[in-house]
């Protein structure tokens, strides 16, 4: 039986986020839109993979992002300083293998630890107890004397920031939960 699409997608597509981000931010003039383009590229790749999974997932992802950017340039008449008059600039993307591609498991772990270190003190504490010490949400709440809602808020912020920091290759302020949200005490639900 074929591997479930979701786990294939995580391993073969989402793992290339760092190089995807750097190839987008290298050519895209508006850094705050990099995350939008990234998510759109993911969505397109996911939809394509529902039909047929690409043979070369990484190249497919990068080419998809190129096409998206080319579309946007046409549509919005954006002028990129690196875009020049035509789409020449897009051709360089796929051939560039970033060193991130060659990182071993050990370095992945190092990257994770460094990402973790950048979280706020509370986030670190909550994620540590929940994910490393394996406590339930309720146990973490009791241990820290906080409500479960507050614990959930820290877990949400922490996870979002981890996702961002681990594969970071450009600043994308738009997708970062603001610091003060971590400090505030309200928690909503979907």
């Amino acid at each position: 039986m074929e591997e479930p699409l979701d786990s294939w997608f995580k391993r073969e597509i989402l793992s290339h986020e760092a190089i995807l981000m750097s190839s987008i931010s290298r050519v895209w003039p508006r850094q705050h839109e990099v995350a939008d383009i990234r998510q759109e590229a993911y969505a397109r790749v996911y939809e394509a993979a529902c039909q047929v999974r690409p043979q070369a997932p990484k190249a497919f992802l990068l080419v998809t992002a190129q096409h998206l950017m080319a579309d946007r340039i046409r549509r919005e008449r954006i002028v990129s300083i690196r875009a020049g008059g035509d789409n020449e600039f897009l051709n360089v993307l796929v051939d560039e293998l970033s060193p991130e591609q060659r990182v071993g498991a050990h370095q992945e772990l190092a990257r994770l630890a460094r990402a973790f270190d950048r979280l706020s003190e509370k986030c670190r504490e909550v994620i540590w107890l929940r994910r490393v010490k394996g406590m339930s949400q309720r146990e973490v709440a009791e241990r820290l004397g906080l409500t479960e809602k507050t614990i959930e808020k820290h877990l949400r912020t922490g996870t979002r920031r981890l996702a961002h920091y681990m594969r970071e290759n450009a600043l994308t302020p738009g997708v970062l939960p603001k610091r003060h949200e971590e400090e505030s005490d309200e928690a909503g639900s979907p």
């Binding site: 998510q39 490393v132 681990m166 939960p177």
Partner: protein
């Protein structure tokens, strides 16, 4: 799709993710969740991306071994890289040595550096003292004590000649608050002159390296003059390292412009890329976060890195040198910037070793001890230097 939308989807995805793991998950939640996933592929991929981060966070367990109880390790306390890459086989067995007993790591001494608070905590005394201890000459010993005291104090400040001047000795590190709210962190053996006027904030970097945390003030650009080039910012964080007429600029936040110091200074030109096009990019270069730029007479070379990678170039602000797969030759050059007693490499095989790890910049002794204890290197301590050779 817009940035707000992306952000909102991610926010909702994070709610679903954490709710699902919360222990309060009902059948009806599952139904609504699946509806949400099916509503748009953008929702689904945002969810998968966060779920992956959630799954990966459990891998921190691998690093928790050796940390007692439920204690949360303070940032930087991880010691995770095998120390030497070129000797991977060796490093398998040495890794533990490199990680647990490493006196030079961030472990206990990574306090932020404020000279006013730190003046009693001289980073150098131990080191400098040891460097000279073998000598019997009393004069030299006395000199070393003086040096140690000096290294522990803030930058010296002198005034005159227009503006305030600040300098650090070899091994020194200090923060200088500015009246406009900006902060300058001076690295080892550095010298700046600061002049604030109503129209600009000007820093001459005469020598060495400094990190600038610039308070926003669009009416007064922040200008760092470094010989033939200058770096211009409005509100941002970046460092400039000067070596004669070549400089290195690292940006971690905001945007800065590097240009010839001879150009007339333009105001408020840091806003957008449009201005770059307008004036032609031949002599001015814009740098964004994660940029590491090397600038000299022949031109500007920009490496685009992630912000976190760029920040490893700035670990000196915590008094720490971070090496990520660097040659020992390069590592030694770095150490020697901070220490009076220089490390000298005696043969090419040693120079080519690859190093990873975090070290106290002023504690070259610890670094050398570690090299010797685990790797095919012999260190011989001489009067004014430490010589490294293959064993």
């Amino acid at each position: 799709m817009s940035t707000d939308q992306t952000n909102e989807i991610e926010e909702i995805a994070s709610h679903w993710l954490i709710r699902r793991q919360s222990g309060h998950w009902a059948e009806s939640d599952q139904v609504r969740f699946e509806q949400w996933l099916d509503a748009s592929t953008l929702n689904r991929v945002a969810y998968l991306r966060l779920e992956l981060a959630w799954e990966e966070s459990a891998r921190l367990k691998a690093l928790a071994a050796g940390i007692p109880g439920d204690q949360l390790p303070p940032p930087g306390r991880w010691n995770l890289t095998p120390f030497f890459d070129a000797h991977r086989a060796l490093s398998q067995s040495r890794a533990t040595l490199g990680t647990n007993d490493l006196p030079g790591t961030l472990a206990s001494d990574s306090e932020p550096c404020d000279p006013h608070l730190e003046s009693g905590d001289a980073p150098a005394p131990d080191n400098v003292y040891r460097a000279f201890a073998r000598r019997t000459n009393r004069l030299v010993l006395a000199a070393s004590v003086v040096l140690a005291i000096v290294a522990g104090f803030a930058a010296y400040k002198f005034s005159g000649g227009g503006g305030d001047r600040y300098a650090t000795p070899v091994g020194g590190l200090s923060s200088v608050p500015m009246r406009d709210g900006s902060k300058i962190t001076l690295n080892t053996n550095s010298h700046v002159r600061v002049a604030l006027t109503n129209t600009e904030r000007r820093v001459d970097l005469n020598q060495g390296e400094a990190f600038f945390d610039v308070a926003k003030d669009s009416n007064r650009p922040f200008v760092v003059d470094a010989g033939k080039k200058r770096v211009v910012a409005v509100g941002t964080k970046f460092s400039v390292r000067r070596d004669g007429d070549s400089i290195e600029v690292v940006v971690t936040e905001g945007k800065v412009r590097v240009e010839d110091a001879t150009r007339p200074l333009r105001h408020a030109a840091v806003e957008g890329f449009e201005s770059t096009i307008a004036e032609g990019a031949e002599s001015a270069v814009f740098l964004t976060p994660g940029a590491i730029a090397h600038v000299d007479q022949s031109g500007v070379l920009v490496l685009r890195k992630s912000v976190s990678e760029a920040e490893t170039h700035l670990s000196w602000r915590a008094g720490v040198l971070m090496f990520r797969d660097e040659s020992l030759a390069d590592a030694v050059v770095e150490f020697n910037r901070y220490n009076v007693r220089k490390i000298v490499i005696g043969d090419p095989a040693v120079a080519a070793l690859r190093v990873e790890g975090n070290f106290r910049a002023t504690n070259a002794d610890a670094f050398v001890r570690l090299l010797e204890s685990g790797f095919p290197v012999r260190a011989s301590a001489e009067e004014d230097r430490i010589l490294l050779r293959s064993r």
